[in-house]
């Protein structure tokens, strides 16, 4: 495990590489794409464990933080989804350079999964693993808004009394203040209407099912030559206010991802 900065010198990205720890070297490298906001904080440990397991299976793995998130510099006010798509391209190029592998598989969780689909062409991704992808950006924003309302209503004794929404700053969503441009780009994002090249190989792992998940599966089944879906009972709870500060403790889904990647 090796931490380093890469990319633009004025706004470097923070990355952590995991070299293969067995002799069964694989002929592709893996780029892990994080969720955003509290979902990233919740899942950091799970994604590190996944990276460790994949490097143990012979893969070169890179985790990194998008601009203005985690340990990468920048201000959220200055980014849109396009900025993060560009970050993924830079990270994929960096991974090719440090691993010597041409083929990159992206493993994305939540918004990271959506970004894997959105950036597949500019980043030259051949294979994509989706883990509980954010399917509709608008629904995602609505969910954050709903969680924030529950927080303010103080249903779980977060503070001494319920608070009015007037305490919030403009475009504040569950601890993070976004730009209008970012929120617009999120609202426009919808995987159900997103064009996906037929040659892209996608595996979809979900911890829950709903109409959107079913529709996404149908769409990818139709659009792609190689697609598979696995529903696995494991922790997610992305719409549960009680879990917004709880670490994501998963084993089954990460084990299955490692098993499928071989």
């Amino acid at each position: 495990m090796h931490a380093f900065f890469f990319g633009n010198i004025d706004s470097p990205l923070y990355g952590v590489s995991h070299s293969p720890t067995c002799n069964d070297f694989k002929n592709s490298a893996i780029l892990i794409l994080n969720p955003q906001g509290h979902e990233y904080i919740r899942s950091h440990k799970a994604l590190r464990q996944l990276a460790d397991a994949l490097s143990g299976a012979g893969y070169f793995v890179l985790r990194f933080d998008y601009q203005a998130t985690g340990d990468s510099r920048g201000e959220l006010q200055d980014v849109t989804l396009d900025s993060w798509k560009e970050n993924i391209k830079i990270a994929a190029d960096e991974l090719r350079s440090i691993s010597g592998q041409k083929n990159i598989t992206a493993v994305g969780l939540r918004l990271g999964a959506s970004l894997a689909i959105l950036s597949n062409e500019i980043a030259g991704l051949k294979n994509v693993i989706l883990w509980d992808p954010v399917i509709s950006g608008e629904d995602y924003i609505d969910n954050l808004d709903n969680l924030q309302s529950q927080l303010l209503a103080n249903k779980n004794s977060w503070f001494n009394k319920p608070l009015s929404a007037s305490v919030l700053s403009e475009n504040e969503l569950l601890g993070y203040q976004y730009s209008e441009a970012f929120l617009s780009s999120m609202k426009e994002m919808n995987l159900l209407t997103q064009e996906v090249p037929a040659k892209l190989r996608v595996k979809h792992f979900s911890t829950f099912s709903n109409d959107d998940v079913i529709c996404l599966n149908e769409k990818l089944e139709n659009d792609l030559r190689r697609f598979s879906h696995y529903e696995i009972e494991d922790m997610g709870d992305w719409d549960d206010i009680m879990k917004i500060d709880s670490a994501l403790l998963v084993h089954k889904i990460t084990n299955k991802i490692v098993e499928e990647l071989g």
Binding site: M1, H2, A3, F4, F5, P12, Y14, V16, G37, H38, I41, H44, K45, R48, T69, G70, D71, R73, L151, N156, S157, W158, F159, N160, K161, L163, V167, L168, S169, E172, L174, G175, Y176, Q177, M242, K243, I244, D245, S246, A247, L249
Partner: protein, 279 residues
């Protein structure tokens, strides 16, 4: 301002990032680390907000992951978790002293981080300041009275009573937002030291004129109920002259709401300026 990644420690297993302002105007370096199982950016990026605020104001800030957490590898030592944490924190100071020639430190910790910040201030004389976010508090006569009134009010309010019973059941049966992680360590809880042991530790710490800032949020209203509770618990102690205490009863434990967080950050910035400016 520039940032430098350091891999350090006797086993080279620890990873951290030093943020170095162009003009350092504080005589201490600030060290930030994990709370519970969260990685070094901390809950809702709290350590990043602290880093930006304090580095912009002239402090060298170092944030890092303890052994086995975030981006740091596990230690191969057979020490206890507590010994390991103290050893990691000592090594973070050794690194900053060696690389940046600063030999006095302020630790800022949230919850279990506050617990660990206290422990390192007891263990190492280079710690000249501590900010405890929802750290220790001891019951007082006034606390007991307020707590009693709270229970009486709850008894006459069926919704509050149900919530209270539910909360107690969750505490007994496990689960809820303060769940236990897969290594069996509570995310956000620590064990309150015996009051007399704590009193003696504080007397020792403040013999070297170290400063302390206790900030409490409304999220810990199960053990802290009014501003001044810390001072009341240790009336007439000389070390109180080096302590400041503030209660943000509207804020939640993680300062999720930006305006609350900003107020907390500004309070810490002011405390740093008041005590650690280079003369």
């Amino acid at each position: 301002m520039k940032e430098v990644i350091h891999v350090f420690g006797s086993e080279n297993n620890l990873t951290g990032i030093a943020t170095i302002p162009e003009n350092i105007n504080k005589k201490v370096a600030v060290i930030l680390f994990n709370a519970g199982v969260l990685h070094k950016v901390n809950a809702f990026d709290m350590n990043i907000d602290l880093m930006k605020m304090l580095a912009d104001d002239g402090s060298l800030v170092f944030r890092f992951d303890l052994s086995g957490m975030g981006d740091s590898k596990k230690s191969k030592n057979n020490s206890t978790l507590n010994e390991q944490v103290i050893n990691d924190l000592i090594q973070s100071m050794d690194l900053i002293e060696d690389k940046y020639n600063i030999n006095e430190f302020v630790f800022i910790g949230l919850c279990t981080g506050a617990d660990n910040a206290h422990k390192i201030s007891v263990a190492d004389g280079r710690v000249m300041g501590v900010v405890w976010l929802d750290g220790y508090a001891y019951p007082t006569t006034k606390y007991n009275k307020l707590n009693f009134i709270r229970y009486i009010k709850a008894a006459f309010n069926p919704f509050k009573l149900l919530r209270f019973i539910r909360k107690k059941l969750v505490a007994v049966l496990g689960g809820g937002s303060d769940s236990v992680n897969d290594e069996g360590v509570d995310n956000y809880f620590w064990e309150l030291p015996d009051k007399e042991v704590y009193r003696k530790q504080m007397q020792e710490i403040f013999k070297r004129n170290a400063k302390g800032l206790y900030l409490y949020s409304g999220g810990v209203n199960d053990y802290y109920l009014y501003e001044g509770q810390f001072f009341d618990a240790f009336k007439d102690e000389a070390f109180l002259s080096n302590i400041e205490e503030q209660y943000y009863d509207n804020a939640d434990h993680l300062y999720v709401i930006r305006k609350h967080r900003l107020i907390m950050l500004e309070r810490i910035k002011k405390w740093m300026r008041d005590h650690f400016l280079v003369e």
